[in-house]
Amino acid sequence: MAENSKQQEKNESLSRRKFLKNSGIAVGGLAVGGALGSLLPFKDKTNTDNLEVKNPRVAENYTQALMYFTREQFKMVEVATERIFPADDNGPGAKDLGVAYFIDHQLSGDWGFNAREYMQPPFFKGEKVQGYQGRLRRREIFDIGLRELQNHSLTKYKKNFVDLNEDEQIDILTDFAEDKVKLTTISPSGFFNMLRSSTLEGAYSDPLYSGNRNMDGWKMRNYPGSQMAYTEVIDKEFTVIPPKSLKDHL
């Protein structure tokens, strides 16, 4: 156990170095002070929840509240998306990127209501190549999908989804991804694919939408975000550019 936590400590400091390097914060031998370093939410998992309150440099983020999910649904989404896109040496996972907030906020708007999609009857089951033909809207699919995720966990492991260990959670999600659960109202893999694609959206969309917190999703993969011009680097070898968000263009 002690061995494990030591190893974990080592991994975390390694990954933190790598992340700082990628993020461009450590460019040019600049000494990275504690303040900057502590902005990284995955630095110390035990303190994550209190970090932002303690650190006066971080403005309080009032957008981290729920527009659609119940608290129970939110917790499940936080856990499920973290299994899809976990924290690792590269940087934070879905949870610390705010992906569950992103999905919650998206479901409350046009996307959740399929507002810009053709939802007129009649509804017929079609060929796979004809695409989605259901009458349910995304927010309803999430409601049903999360309820079924819970039911399947309780049936298979006699525990709530969020209380399962990682391997069990992965197993439950795999059953959905591979259509190994029998559901009548929605397609398990259809729900899972939506969860997966919205996880990537939450990890990599502009932080404007409550995910990709601190642009950490972009920093992990050296994506410069929203730049006005690349005329200086377009014909050059690979160049790391610190990211900008849409906020910079207002």
Partner: protein, 571 residues
């Protein structure tokens, strides 16, 4: 009872590339034109929040709102067509400038072979080369006849490019030099040269340097910001109708644009159109706009739908193979490609421009011998650096799970280490590929949706496989550590993006029995109706269509002016 407005010379339905060009050319000559656009007004200043992948690329902010109108689709006549409820295979434009606002700017001229495809195929391989039910036909115009109009479009848009040794002859060089190249593009060029192919910089409407066109419109150079496709250009560097032809038309004082105006019918009396009926979508009011000449310049699907709904032209009958409206719907074969993973190199693929790329045409058109191949035509093969945006670009080597630890680490490892070489395969028309009105599904006004009956054929499967193999050859030469490619084409699937290069339905030709419009895009059956767009393509080539649409639009404008003076059929 619809409100009836005073008559105008010309009413133009849809103000994108085709509508904008027609308006500019006609108003310059003093004709009074009204442009009806169902979407909203647009201008360059609207685009400062444009670098937003979620909003524009994934939520389709600039595209047609499908809740109001979509298309239906089925693979063959025996199946029930169902609505395309969400976007996938192609995306439909809406608003001033249409799809011209959010195109990539990849600008080609179709090959001389394309315009005479049937004659040239028979000449080289004999009639047996053309499978039963493949309805290819000559276009009723040659490349040489169309060349001056290609030239005109390219000068208006300021296309940046260099000579392509395997294309048709040009009367003048590109108006601006090619775009900058990148290490990834140079890798492709070197590999192609090693393989004795003929690489060239892709002709681009993104503008390599500041340019003033013959109309006096000045535009800035591209900044390689990587947000072209599905986005509007905040610099006005990308040629689009809003920054080129529309202001020219407006300056004459003879072009009135009415946005939020959705045309539902072309009105007719005998074999002439008398105007159009449209709905002001802000009030719901039905309005009649009489005109001497009606020009349809909306996207492929609505051009066909409007004619079918209005009872103009002879609807296509797929069983008998007679009639013309809806005939020869074609698409493209986009899945023949190779994805290369480079373990030891990273590339600035986050940067780019919509048309930034390097191309070979050695396997396009009839530039290679098809004697021992089970398909005709081919496709351009290119590397593109349009800018890899992070939500949509998470390529991992085959065998990697699609989620979880390994997916995450591989997708990040390869975020800047993936290059793709892709074929843009031509699409041949078949007797049973067509457009007609759906019997069940309706739009917001209760009018039937257009129905697509289409699937890939053996021609397409063979072509996709062949292009894949050629792409792999190039990718190997480029030195990728690992290459993934297409196994087999599979059926046409409307859920995954391929290209918004839908064509046909109101095709051009020399014979009224087999075509809907002549080579001025004037309807054989209603001489004061012109239908301008990729609807006129008798098949689709191995290139992006816009350059050819632009050339045809200039040709049609000339035809309309001459019709206005003389009347009657022009060809």
């Amino acid at each position: 009872m619809a409100k009836k407005l005073p008559k105008v010379d010309v009413v133009i339905v849809g103000v994108g590339w085709a509508g904008g060009i027609i308006a500019a050319e006609l108003t310059k000559q003093g004709l009074n034109c009204v442009g009806l656009e169902r979407g909203k007004e647009r201008k360059t200043e609207d685009y400062f929040m444009m670098h937003d992948e979620l909003r524009y690329a994934l939520r389709y902010d600039l595209m047609q709102n499908l809740s109001k109108e979509t298309i239906t689709f089925r693979g063959n006549e025996k199946l029930r067509a169902l609505p395309m409820r969400q976007y996938g295979s192609f995306i439909l434009g809406e608003g001033l400038g249409g799809s011209g606002v959010h195109w990539n700017g990849q600008n080609y001229r179709f090959l001389p072979y394309d315009f005479e495809i049937r004659s040239k195929t028979i000449e080289r391989y004999g009639e047996k080369k053309i499978p039963k039910d493949m309805t290819i036909q000559d276009w009723g115009i040659t490349y040489d006849e169309l060349e001056p109009y290609f030239d005109k479009f390219e000068k208006m848009a300021g296309i940046s490019g260099e000579e392509n040794p395997l294309a048709g002859k040009r009367s003048s060089p590109y108006p601006t030099p090619p775009m900058k190249t990148t290490p990834a593009l140079e890798k492709f060029r070197k590999a192609a040269n090693n393989l004795k192919l003929h690489p060239y910089n892709r002709p681009s409407a993104n503008l390599s340097e500041p340019y003033t066109n013959p109309d006096g419109v000045a535009r800035a150079a591209c900044q390689y910001c990587a947000y072209c496709e599905r986005f509007g250009c905040e610099y006005g560097a990308k040629a689009d109708p809003v920054v080129t032809v529309i202001p020219v038309a407006k300056k004459t004082g003879k072009f009135e644009i009415r946005t939020h105006s959705n045309v539902r019918r072309v009105l007719k009396s005998g074999n002439k159109a008398t105007g159009v009926m449209y709905v002001d979508t802000t009030t719901g009011e039905e309005i009649e706009q009489p005109a001497d000449i009606v020009v349809l310049t909306s996207y492929v699907f609505n051009n066909v739908r409007l004619l079918l709904q209005s009872g103009i032209g002879r609807p296509y009958d797929p069983v008998a193979g007679t009639g013309v409206i809806g005939k020869n719907y074609a698409y493209q074969v986009q899945k023949g490609n190779a994805t290369g993973f480079f373990d030891k190199e990273e590339f600035n693929t986050y940067a780019g421009a919509g048309a930034l790329g390097m191309v070979v045409d050695d396997f396009n058109g009839d530039n290679f011998d098809h004697s021992n191949l089970n398909f005709i035509h081919g496709g351009s093969i290119a590397i593109s650096q349009t800018g890899f945006r992070p939500i949509s670009n998470n390529k991992v080597p085959k065998g990697t799970p699609t989620w979880g630890k390994e997916f995450k680490s591989n997708s990040i490892k390869y975020a800047n280490r993936v290059l793709s070489v892709g074929g843009q395969g031509a699409s041949m028309p078949f007797k049973h590929h067509y457009l007609d009105l759906d019997p069940t599904y309706k739009d917001e006004f209760g009018d039937p949706l257009i129905r697509i009956t289409y699937d890939f054929e053996e021609q397409d499967r063979q072509l996709a496989k062949y292009l894949s193999e050629r792409c792999v050859d190039i990718m190997k030469e480029m030195g990728a550590d690992h290459i993934d490619t297409l196994d087999e084409l599979g059926p046409y699937d409307i859920t995954t993006y391929q290209s918004t290069h839908n064509t046909g339905g109101i095709i051009m030709g020399a014979d009224p029995a087999t075509s809907a419009v002549n080579n001025y895009l004037q309807m054989w059956d209603a001489d004061n109706v012109f239908v301008v767009g990729a609807t006129a393509f008798a098949h689709n080539s191995g290139y992006n269509p816009t350059g050819t649409v632009g050339a045809l639009a200039y040709r049609a404008a000339e035809g309309i002016l001459s019709y206005k003076q003389k009347g009657g059929l022009l060809a």
